[in-house]
Each structure stands twice: as C-alpha cells, then as structure tokens.
Symmetry: C2
Subunit: 356 residues, 2 copies
Amino acid sequence: MSVHNFNSGPSILPLPVLEQSAKAIHDFNGTGLSILEIGHRTSHFQMVLDSAISSVKRLMHLDDQFEVLFLHGGATTQFMQVPMNLLDQDQTAAYCDNGIWGNKAYKEAAMFGNPVLASSSADKSHTYIPKHLNIPANAKYLHITTNNTVEGTQWHEYPNVEIPLIGDMSSDIFSREADFKKFSLIYAGAQKNMGAAGVNMLVVKKDILGKIQRKIPTIMNYQKHIEAGSLMNTPPVFAVYVSMLTLQWIEQEGGLAEMGRRSQERADLLYNTIDSLPIFQAKVATEDRSQMNAVFFIEDESLQNLFLDQCKEAEFVGVKGYRTVGGIRVSMYNALPLSSVKAMADLMQDFAKKHG
Amino acid sequence: MSVHNFNSGPSILPLPVLEQSAKAIHDFNGTGLSILEIGHRTSHFQMVLDSAISSVKRLMHLDDQFEVLFLHGGATTQFMQVPMNLLDQDQTAAYCDNGIWGNKAYKEAAMFGNPVLASSSADKSHTYIPKHLNIPANAKYLHITTNNTVEGTQWHEYPNVEIPLIGDMSSDIFSREADFKKFSLIYAGAQKNMGAAGVNMLVVKKDILGKIQRKIPTIMNYQKHIEAGSLMNTPPVFAVYVSMLTLQWIEQEGGLAEMGRRSQERADLLYNTIDSLPIFQAKVATEDRSQMNAVFFIEDESLQNLFLDQCKEAEFVGVKGYRTVGGIRVSMYNALPLSSVKAMADLMQDFAKKHG
C-alpha cells in the first residue's frame, strides 16, 4: 500500500477488519446472505452485538453497574442526548470548553438546562487543557472531551470529581489503558479508533439514569435502549459489525496496553521530529499534546503550503489542518502503522534540510 | 444462490450492489483507501452524496422546492424528528393509525403537540386502510405510513388533503411510480428497498419549515441539515454509499416503472397462489394488499408451524410473521427475483396438495 492515511476521521482501519468486512458483504458466516441482508433480530446479529459489548466490557474492565449501547448517530447526537437524559430545564451542569467539539456540546446543553463552563482554554486558542476547574456545587455532571481532534490536545489524567464525569472519547477511545470507571458516561462515534462512521458507542453507569422529570423521546431515551438491548429499532447493522471486528482486533493485538504502547511510540517519533526541526512549531502545551492528533505549523505560509503539496505528492492523506486552526495535522489512530509515521518523519527531515 | 431472502428488513439487496460495496471496502474508486477510511469532507464522498441525491430527485421527479437529505437513524428517529420540526406544543396534527409503526409515530408526536387520529383500523386488527379521514381544520399536517410492513397493507392511492401530507415510506419507497409531489415530507429508513441499515432518506418541501416557535436541537433540525448539505456531522458514509449504488441500480434497471412492473408481477403470483389454495388465508382487505409484504395464515397452527419448518428446510429466510401478528409473511422488495416467489409458490402448492 503506497497511501499513508493520516485522516482525522473517518480514518484508517486495520487491514484484517477491512478484509473480513468485505468477505461478510459477500457471505456472512456461511449464511448465504450478505451482512447487509440479515435481520437484526436473528441469532446471527445478536452474536455480533453480544461480542462487541463483551469486548468493550473486557477492554474497559467494566462491572455490571455499567451498560454498553450501540446507537445510531455520532457524537453530535450525544451533545443533545446527554443533557436530554440527565438534566432538567432548571438544573446546572459543568462543561470544559477545551476545543470546538466541547464547545458545541456546551452550547447544545443550553437547550435542556443551565450549563456553565468549568474551564475554557479559549484565551490561548485552545492550545492547552486547564487543570483547575470551577464546578458549581449544584452541577449535575461534568462533561469533558478527552481528546480534542481539531486542536491536538488530550487529557492525560482525568479530573477527580464528586459528581458524575462524562467523557466524549470519540477520538481517543481504546487508544490506551485508563481508569474508565472514573466516568459515569462515555460516548464515542466509532469512526476513528473503533470502526466505521454511522454508529455511536455508549457506556453508561445505570445509577445516573431516571433522575429527571423531562419526558424523553423514545428513541433518545437511554433507559429504553438498555431495556431493548440496543435493539429498540433496526440498528446500523454493518457499522456495529465493523466495530465488533475492530474490537476483536484490538484484543488480539494485545489490548489497550499494546494500543497505548503503539500510540506512545508513534507520538514520540512525530513530536521528537517536530521538536528537533525548528522549521516546525507545535503550539500545544507540551504536557497536553495529543497522542492521536499532532497539530503543528510552518510559520512561513508559502512554505507550509509547499509542505502540504509534498505530502499530497507522497500520497499522505488527510494532513491539512482543520479549517478553523490551519497548519498541519497528523492523525495517528490505532490502525496507523509506525511505518507511516516514519515516512512522515522522513519527509519532514528532508523538507527541513532544504528549507529549514 | 440457494437461499431465498424474504426478510422484512434489513432485506435482500441487488447482487451488483453487494459486489460493488465489497470492492469499495478494499479500494474505493482507485483511491488506495477503503470506503470506510475516506474523509466525509472530500470530493470523493461529495460525489457519492451528490449522486445519491440526484438519483432520488430524478426517480421522484422532484423540483427545486424539495430538498433531499441523508441522515443518521431510521424511521423511528423520524417519529420524533417530524413533530419536533413541524409542530408546536399547542398545535394539532392528524395521524393515521393503520398499523404498529403509524401508531408509534402518533404516540411519539404526543410529546411535541396534540396529535389526533384521522383514522384507525385497530377495529379489524389493522387488516385494511380506512379511506375516510377525520382531519381537524387546524391540523398542521397529516401523517400516513404508506406501507404497513407488519400487517401487510398498503396505500394504493394517496389521500388528497389541503394540509401538508407526510409519508413514512420506509417499506415501499422506490417500489413503483407515484405522485410523490403530493407529499410535503417523505422519510424512509434505507434497509428495505434502497440500501443498508443505518441511514434515513428524507425528502422535504422547504416551505413547511421554519414555522414553529420551539428551539430545535441542532442535530435534529431539518433546516440546519439542509444548510449543511447533509454534512453537519460525520454522516454514515458507507450506508449512504450503498444507497447510492442501489439507487443507480434502480435507474439502470428501468426506474420506478420497471420496479412497479416487477412488484406487481411478484405480488400477483403470490396472492394468486394464496387465493387458489384454501389452506392459506390472507386476512387483509383485497384492495389494500401490500405489494411488499404478503401476510397470510394457515388456520391449523400445527400445520402452520410445519409449513414454516419446511420454509426453513428449503432455505427460505425471514418467512415467520411479526410477533404481534403471527402467521406467515413473505416480503418481496425490489431486489427479490421473481424466481424466489416462484419457489415459494411451488412450496405452497406442494404443501396444499399434501395437507390441503
């Protein structure tokens, strides 16, 4: 494969997952039917769903206090669904504004209650994660975005709070070991580290549900999805299947310890390259650098464009920074081989030699 | 292929669609990337989306008053999203309760306004479609389910009303020609006639939007999805792609005229077989019989179970009736070859000879 896929999401998936997915489109487990043609209320699909849920529970070391759901939509749906399920109109919740997505989650919550900002890094263009949080005594929960895909920052130690902690883990889910039990609710669109676009994974501690007065639309109601075992309506069958395969791949490769080792190795190589070459600048605070998305710049914009052009010529895909941030962004999710980061580092070295 | 797929949804898809989908999982249009790995804000995916939308507009003969959206979720999401976008809390809308799904849509609307029933066929176990409708003068819209998948009834002529007509066409979309311009809003989960589970197609006449006071959550707001061209957030890329392929297949095969001819041919064969064999009873009113889902019974339950067992042995998939209705259900969507219906008719003939 000559293409190096640094897409920020949808992004690179493990080759065995792609091969197995394509096979299942021809014939799913010898049923004579495509995975796209099987009923969702069959033992065939139930096995897929059960397997995906078991993998999540094993990888996160979750006990029976937690439920795992696979739902339609992506994280943006959860920006609405979380406050809809957890916050009454006159209640308060605390949000960390550490980037574009956390900010969207905060704004959406204002439709369902009175969210307040526990912190904001807007003063420095979201290039750091504020560690001091102002959480009102009556806040029902604290919402954080564990990895900021656009700005390239990441929480490396989760905050300790007395109220339920909620994490949007869309862009660093299953990338390393962590104390997931600190969270009462975790959600993640699948299209980065755990599958294809079109499904949302949700982990929820049951004791936080059923505490509000609002009538919740059926399809948005976490409790009803739990009762229905993620089968309230036709689920996104194929997207759940790809998640199942990706989760199996993670386990087979050595689980989150190994994913964490690889993440660290990729990130070390890339950030060391940036730091050793003065032409490249990473503006993010060193201790908050994301292992998933490295965002950096070349001050001279024409040189930066030249670099992006050379990336394109080298078939490096998805390297242009997000439109609100600009610069260069190299996304390094679970399935990205170290060889792709090496290829990037080599190009950066060459470029610095010529233009540095 | 020895399996005959009579699944009610997810259901049979055209073989060329499956082959092309599997190919795109290996390499999408020579990009060197899988369709599961491409960014949704690339020209690659924009072409997919544009092509799918163009096909819908051509097949339905829609002019520029209509927008076509591809959204996360299925029809169940629309049960909430329709009244959320079109109905204020103190307003009325009319619903036809002609089956389990229409009834769910009606109940969900009660969370957003004051829905009333324009008709109900509950008096006869939903075995017919009432033609006389009681629509309050102040109703903001009329909602119908054009085909009742579970009960096996179908609207063969859409009602003429002065208010916006809304159709859940999940189970008969693109199965025949119709005057789609009668509708102000059409929605359909893709997993029957137009693709794989995990995406919702929506056709909306723009002039019905923006008329209510409610603040609509961003991800549920039709107007915002129109502004964003179905790209407000990461769409279900692969499910949209499968829809695009299925829509192209429909056009290549001769469009809705040809789909309608095939639907009629399949339905004629199956219902003629039922009517000619006294052991089988179709309880649905003859003029309301669905061309998509034929529901019928064998009075003697042990014989009915025997018949279902024989279907299983013959590798006829998805023939058992829905749990609330029982009996036998043969779903005959666009991709079902006439030869499958012939195989079913042959089995019915044989069974009647032995047990009739």
